[in-house]
Assembly symmetry: C2
DNA sequence: AATTTAATTGATAAGGTATTTCAGTTAATA
DNA sequence: TATTAACTGAAATACCTTATCAATTAAATT
């Protein structure tokens, strides 16, 4: 069992939840497709190869749970469905998304220059920031 | 007729569209509620006082049209519905949103320190940025 | 001012994503 | 192995949004 699965098991146990084959298979699918920002339906289709009897509702429930347990993050690219990505807790690399408005490609940007901005906002607006979502829309190298 | 309504009339004419009482009333509602980030349903309820016979579908269609004409902007606060804000073209003040994860309050931040970051991204990722959406999640002064 | 015509509307059906329900099943503990 | 609360699949339901369509209307033309 890999690190992430081990972490899932611990977090589930802590809350009195169970590690089922369905949850295992769902997380496996996400692990095996890092960087792809899969939607619920896409995850459902892929999980079914490993776990054919799984129901769509279970996938929805599992993704919600994994998000609550801070193992994955739900992202919204305004394309009509929720997508998910695996959290990377080793390095707390913040990353943002570049979304091509023509072809829809999503590129991850691994920079974080928002710290100065955040400090200023916290001071000026008396607001305690604990997370941010940044999306840039434009044209990728193929489309521009 | 105010400036924004005048602008709407011109943009509609340019595309062969009509300025109807329903469109007028919908935009009026948004103008009279600036800074409130109203949802479609909320706009519908308010428009009905001025224009009781209006249908929900018309409000949806009008908001979509106003967004296309760059008069309003659709925003997504992940609360299950689309919200809208009036565009401010006088000063092209960029602004971001602070969203309180406890009470849901949305505060507008009128700063734009992303220019340096954008320049770097455009260079490093060969990506032409034309828009961005930035949301900060945390606790507002009342909730922290 | 009346005519013409394409755009617009309201009501309702239909679409798509996500959640709830519930009876049967199962993982984890004793 | 028995117990029990958690979990599952299937289907119903909820919810936001869009499509359909006959009737209406704004705006250009006569």
């Amino acid at each position: 069992m890999n690190d992430i699965m081990e972490k899932l098991k611990d977090k589930l146990k802590e809350k009195g939840y169970k590690l089922t084959p369905q949850r295992r298979a769902t997380l496996d699918t996400i692990i095996n497709n890092q960087g792809k920002h899969l939607s619920t339906e896409e995850i459902y289709d892929m999980v079914k190869t490993e776990c054919p009897e799984i129901g769509l509702a279970t996938v929805y429930r599992t993704l919600q749970l994994l998000d609550e347990l801070d193992i994955i993050t739900k992202i919204n690219f305004d394309d009509g469905c929720s997508r998910y990505e695996l959290n990377n807790h080793e390095d707390n690399h913040q990353h943002h998304h570049l979304i091509c408005v023509k072809c829809g490609e999503v590129i991850e940007v691994e920079v974080d220059l928002l710290e100065t901005l955040e400090e200023e906002i916290e001071k000026n607006y008396d607001f305690k920031i604990h997370d941010h979502k940044v999306k840039f829309f434009g044209y990728c190298s193929n489309c521009k």
